[in-house]
């Protein structure tokens, strides 16, 4: 029973990690850099979601239109994904594009700086007090023979799996996805195919940021307290998931996100919860000792460069 209960909790945490890890992994695969501001984009997405949801609720209260609360949630997710994708594109345009040919360390430092700017920017804009995410759907708990599942948990897991699948299909079957796969293999010659790589790079940031925003709102639904630093720890953990999945692998990032959720929850089941991260990430470290390229990663050393 406890095992099953924890399984469900692990799936929920895994959903957050997976959605955020996808953004790290996509950007890495086409530009060979980690966007270390990505955790903070998750935070920005959650705040944008907060704004959108509050606005929709206010409009409904004013009688502008009558929307059922589930529809408000769906609209909040879609609209916030759309808005946050622009945040990603701006970060790429201002922060990373000028550094395309610079040493990778410059891009890493820039990413960390952008993260701090987003955090403090939020602090200046909204002040230090936390905001609470509006409760859009009321919690319904189902008792499945002693295992308790809430409608929110089901929703979080289903939505994140749908989004990960949609992304996978997009990359497999569209021409933009094809261009992303080509860039992942050898970005230097991609322009020779008539493909504008800046457009592909911007789109990749947009997609990753949209997924981070979805994660932010789902997080807000489950844990409705938002603060400007909420993206740091979860962002780093999702980064670990991206590494564990294999740099640049979409399936890898998704599965590793869930795996990380499982490891954390089950470690906490056995050991005191204060030791959770210490033990969980020691396990991750151990896995990486034996599989340095992660589960689905390739060794990139053989990759061609002009």
């Amino acid at each position: 029973m406890i095992l099953l209960q924890n399984l469900i909790n692990a799936l929920q945490w895994g959903s957050f990690y997976a959605l955020i890890a996808l953004g790290y992994s996509m950007v890495y695969s086409i530009l060979m850099l980690f966007n270390f501001a990505h955790g903070d984009i998750f935070m920005v997405g959650a705040y944008i979601g907060f704004g959108v949801a509050s606005a929709l609720i206010a409009l409904t209260a004013m009688g502008a239109f009558a929307l059922p609360s589930w529809l408000i949630l769906v609209l909040t997710i879609l609209f916030s994904m759309f808005l946050t994708s622009f945040v990603g594109m701006i970060v790429e345009r201002i922060g990373y594009r000028p550094l395309r040919d610079a040493p990778r360390a410059s891009a890493a430092i820039t990413g960390l700086m952008i993260g701090i700017i987003l955090e403090t920017g939020n602090l200046i804009l909204l002040g230090a007090q936390r905001v609470s995410f509006p409760s859009l759907i009321s919690t319904v708990t189902y008792d499945l023979g002693g295992v308790f599942v809430t409608n929110k948990k089901i929703m979080i897991v289903v939505v994140s799996m749908l989004l990960a699948t949609a992304l996978h299909q997009f990359i497999r079957h569209t021409r933009y996805g094809m261009a992303m796969r080509a860039m992942a293999f050898d970005y230097v010659v991609v322009p020779l195919m008539g493909v504008p790589i800046n457009k592909i790079a911007a789109m990749t940031f947009a997609l990753g940021s949209a997924l981070a925003a979805a994660a932010g709102i789902l997080f807000g639904v489950a844990y409705p307290v938002l603060d400007p630093y909420m993206g740091i720890l979860i962002g780093w953990k999702a980064f670990v998931a991206a590494i564990l999945g294999g740099r640049g692998s979409i399936i890898g990032a998704t599965l590793a996100g869930f795996l990380l959720g499982f490891i954390e929850i089950f470690v906490a089941m056995i050991f005191p919860s204060t030791l959770r991260d210490l033990i969980a990430y020691s396990i991750v470290l151990l896995i990486l000792v034996f599989r340095p390229h992660g589960f689905f990663g390739e060794a990139y050393s053989a990759r061609l460069r002009l």
């Binding site: 021409r175 094809m178 261009a179 796969r181 080509a182 992942a184 293999f185 050898d186 230097v188 010659v189 322009p191 020779l192 195919m193 008539g194 493909v195 504008p196 790589i197 061609l304 002009l306």
Partner: protein, 237 residues
């Protein structure tokens, strides 16, 4: 005149690769640049396709347009200049078909694309059989066919070819050059660079000899094949 290059200079850091090249290509021609390893042959092609920046003072015009105003992807999609790079550089993780489709990324003429893909498969029937195979699993000859096919799909006014003979067995080499002749007959102007000077001069109508970043000799293929210095340095006779 289709393409004209004037005072083309390119440097990699402090190393000067091209010291001011001047050459021209007319529509429908096959022109080759021969030269030793490191003479600047690949750099010349990369400068035209905007893969490496040309230094200030360099001028390149294509059909009267200033080529330097176009980014690398626009040189392909708007001017129709395609480039088969050194070492083929296929996307090994994509299928044969996907490699060809990616080369049409900026094209909107869907009916023509279908026709062109069929044309590539009729020129290189080996590719037809391998449509859904990953490019990385092809043999060397098939990879070269796909590299040329990809260029055919992306832009067809001019094709820049970097050592198309490299790594091919003599028989395959011959059929590759036959295919290129056919593409040329359909209206594609070809500029190729080759270390294999004899082969290049048999294929091209005109040629230039590149030495240490300077064009030192130019002439018709017959002239170059008879030129004593070219003979001594590049034809091994």
């Amino acid at each position: 005149m289709l393409l004209s290059v004037e005072a083309l200079r390119v440097s990699y850091g402090n190393i000067k690769a091209l010291h001011g090249l001047n050459f021209e290509i007319d529509e429908g021609e096959i022109v080759c640049i021969i030269g030793a390893n490191g003479a600047g042959k690949s750099t010349t092609l990369k400068a035209i396709s905007r893969m490496v920046p040309a230094e200030a003072g360099s001028r390149m015009t294509f059909q009267g347009k200033d080529l330097l105003e176009y980014a690398a992807d626009k040189v392909v999609s708007q001017l129709g200049i395609s480039h088969v790079p050194e070492g083929r550089r296929l996307f090994d993780n994509l299928t044969v078909m996907e490699n060809l489709q990616l080369a049409c990324f900026a094209r909107k003429d869907n009916d023509q694309i279908k026709e062109d893909i069929q044309r590539v498969f009729s020129i290189f029937s080996r590719l037809d059989e391998r449509q859904i195979q990953k490019a990385g699993t092809l043999s060397g000859g098939e990879q070269q066919m796909l590299a040329v096919g990809r260029a055919y799909m992306s832009g067809r006014k001019v094709m820049l070819l970097d050592e198309p003979s490299m790594g091919l067995a003599p028989l395959l080499m011959m059929s590759m050059f036959d295919a290129l002749k056919e593409i040329n007959r359909e209206g594609t102007t070809i500029l190729l660079v080759e270390q294999n000077a004899r082969l290049a001069l048999q294929f091209a109508q005109r040629g230039y000899v590149l030495e240490n970043g300077n064009l030192v000799v130019e002439g018709s293929s017959e002239e170059l094949l008879e030129n004593p210095e070219v003979k001594k340095a590049y034809l091994g006779a």
